[in-house]
Amino acid sequence: MTNRMKTLLGTSVLSLALLTGNAMAEADLRMTWYNDGNESEAMQALLDKFEKQNPDISVTLDVVPYKAILESLPVQLAAGDGPDIARVTDLGGLSKYYLDMTPYLENADYWRENFGPFLKWLDPDGDQISGFMTQLTVTGPYVNKTLFEQAGVAMPGEGATWDDWAKAVNEVAAKLDIPIPMAWDRSGHRVSGPAIAMGAKMFDDDGNPALVDDGLKSMATKLYDWHQDGTMAKELWGSVSGSTYLGANEDFANAQVVMYMSGSWQIPQFADKIGDAFDWWAVPAPCGTAACTGMPGGAALVAMKDSDHPEEVAKLMDFLAQEENLAEFYGKNLFIPGHLGLATGGVDFATDDPRAKHALETFANAVPGISPTAFDLQGYANNRVMFNALISRLGEAIVGELTLDQAFDRMTQDVEKQLAEKERGN
């Protein structure tokens, strides 16, 4: 072998070794994310920081529509082709795909202390640590306070019922010719809080789901009647089918709605879109006969067990979950913290908008008053089965395809059928 050949061979072997070594050390992680506003920017800033500290780990943030999180992600995960980390709202429903990060975490106690109650939402039947809440949400209404002032109608105060609010918003809409007095997100989750306020139990004595009872019927009947008398516009709930989600955030931001039942996640969007164009005001959850409650909820960032790099995934999750990083994330995005330390100590929210500050305060103050039933429902792994049955059948009743009684029967049947299907083969 000539010297030239030897040099060529040596260089090739060295290059190959270096390339292979580099490839083995590097972990490419993928995070699937959806945006309510533009919180992916704050997350990307944190990921950049992490990559600087850990040059052997790279993270790609895939921002997808929320619909993809609900519909495509479960299929990807079932096929074993999911991301390493994902932001999800079906917290318990996807729990079988979550990674238990406990063995990889430096300080698992930190996680239990600060995320304790929410870890149960991610793993209803166990005690694994799979992720943390990127935001804690509470459902509740916003009102256009400026319209109330212009109409000279007094806003119902604390303890007011849904009927009081319906009367007041109709008065405002009639005086100012506003097309939609009241709008609710088309979502079973949004209806559940007020239904629980009207006495809905959601579960039987054995803890099995029991969607339809007098409390739920009472709230559903109110919603039905409001759609018939014009308090609510049929074009939101009546214009699509099944469990399709529709929000009235655009209409509210355009001052076409007097009262909008949604939740705390709208704060950054309203602060950005509405600004000081009018006074958008979050008000405490109106009362029913049993309670004055909204629904808790939120989105969580969870690690997936099919990841090829569980150690690196846990390292990244641990980094993101640190108090200073989460404080930055919650603060920038005006999110109610899902970290108990930050919830107690407070977060420095990046806003001077008095409306946003008031809304954050209103929703944060609502947390202690949330009904235990609402927490149980949020923690129930199959809650979306109940939400979807509720919203789709109520929607069909509102447009006249079913009577309310038929809709209630169908809700029960839908829940039973889907849960039976889920039980098969598991």
């Binding site: 609900l70 519909e71 479960p74 299929v75 079932a78 096929a79 079906d90 429903g93 097309p179 049929k234 074009e235 009546g238 214009s239 699509v240 089918s241 099944g242 469990s243 399709t244 199959n382 979306r384 089965v385 979807n388 929607g395 069909e396 509102i398 447009v399 006249g400 395809e401 079913l402 038929q406 169908r410 889907q418 849960l419 299907e421 889920k422 098969r424 083969g425 598991n426």
Partner: protein
């Protein structure tokens, strides 16, 4: 003897560009000759069909069998081998009805609502699609001014993605859309098109016709242009009325193209999903929820993704499409045989 003319630069370039292709076909020729030697000339059609058949088998036939396999299983597991065999249970659930004509009496009411909605949609969409395409083709076949421009205009929507088509029309039809703005400018009230079941179905049909008419017009236009002009000249010399010319010459000679249009429109109509899903979301209620959307919802949008029931529904849809196609083919054969 004149000297052989030298090749121009352009011819030389063409020869260079064609060289790789020539080489490829020369190389391909070697195994093909070998196969022909072994199997004889009779085997060659099958050899040429094989790549296409393999592709078709991989992406159509095999999935068809897998889908049928899924329809005999239950549970939520994704892989067939992990699922529970339930026999015909999903089918019997779909067909459990007190009265098949009243979807509310059926166990799976939405499946039947989807079937009825699809039947109504297909009836109106196919009928009007064929009529409008025929009228447009006849007009575009005449010597009118800017004929090329109008042909392009009618074909343009075909080039658009169904989602884009639906979004454009959604913006036009919303409460604050262009159409309502126009109605208000005329002093009329706004119409909430997506709240009324009748309006929603009307627009679903209308938008679908608008989007696809250009394609069918093109097929009919090709048919019209293939009719020998001397037939029309002879009819004119005989003083035949225009109506009679249409019924006795144009329509009979155009019939093979019409049949293609009807079959294609029928199959595409039964498969309708994307445009209407974006336009109306299946609403109001379930007024425009068609069978494919039912399958999609059952298999993918519910928290419990019921692949078994969705597969059983798609098998039923497949059977319906197969029967429709067979009926059309039988009609064609009967006509061709006189």
């Amino acid at each position: 003897m004149s000297p052989k003319p030298s090749k121009t630069a352009s011819e030389q370039l063409q020869a260079i560009a064609a060289w790789p292709l020539q080489m490829f076909f020369r190389l391909l020729d070697i195994p093909l000759r070998g196969i022909q030697k072994m199997g004889g000339i009779g085997s060659m059609p099958y050899v040429f069909l094989l790549p296409n058949l393999a592709f078709f088998g991989m992406f159509v036939i095999i999935p068809l069998f897998i889908n049928f396999g899924f329809s005999l299983t239950g549970g939520t597991n994704l892989f067939l081998q992990d699922r529970v065999y339930v026999g015909g249970e999903q089918y019997s659930f779909l067909f459990k009805c007190e009265n098949y004509m009243v979807s509310a009496t059926c166990q799976e009411d939405r499946f039947w609502k989807g079937i009825f909605n699809t039947a109504i949609f297909v009836l109106f969409q196919v009928t009007f699609l064929v009529i409008f395409s025929l009228i447009t083709a006849i007009i575009l076949n005449r010597k009118i001014r800017a004929r090329g421009f109008f042909r392009a205009v009618f074909f343009f929507p075909v080039l658009l993605s169904p989602v884009v088509v639906a979004l454009i029309w959604k913006w036009i039809l919303l409460r604050d859309g262009i159409l309502n703005a126009f109605l208000v400018s005329l002093g009329l009230d706004k119409i909430l098109f997506f709240v009324s079941p009748e309006w929603a179905m009307f627009w679903a049909v209308f938008v679908s016709i608008w989007a696809h008419m250009g394609f069918y017009t093109l097929i009919l236009l090709a048919g019209l242009q293939a009719i020998p002009p001397d037939l029309y000249e002879a009819a004119e010399m005989d003083g035949t009325s225009k109506e009679r010319v249409f019924w006795r010459i144009t329509l009979p000679l155009l019939w093979p193209n019409m049949l293609v249009v009807i079959v294609l429109a029928l199959i595409k109509g039964v498969q309708i999903f994307d445009e209407v899903y974006v336009l109306t979301g299946g609403g109001p209620g379930t007024a425009t929820q068609f069978i494919v959307q039912y399958i999609y919802n059952t298999g993918f949008t519910n928290q419990v993704q019921n692949f078994g029931l969705a597969s059983a529904s798609s098998v039923v849809l497949g059977v319906v499409l197969f029967v429709l196609t067979m009926l059309q083919l039988a009609a064609t054969r009967r006509r061709n045989n006189g």
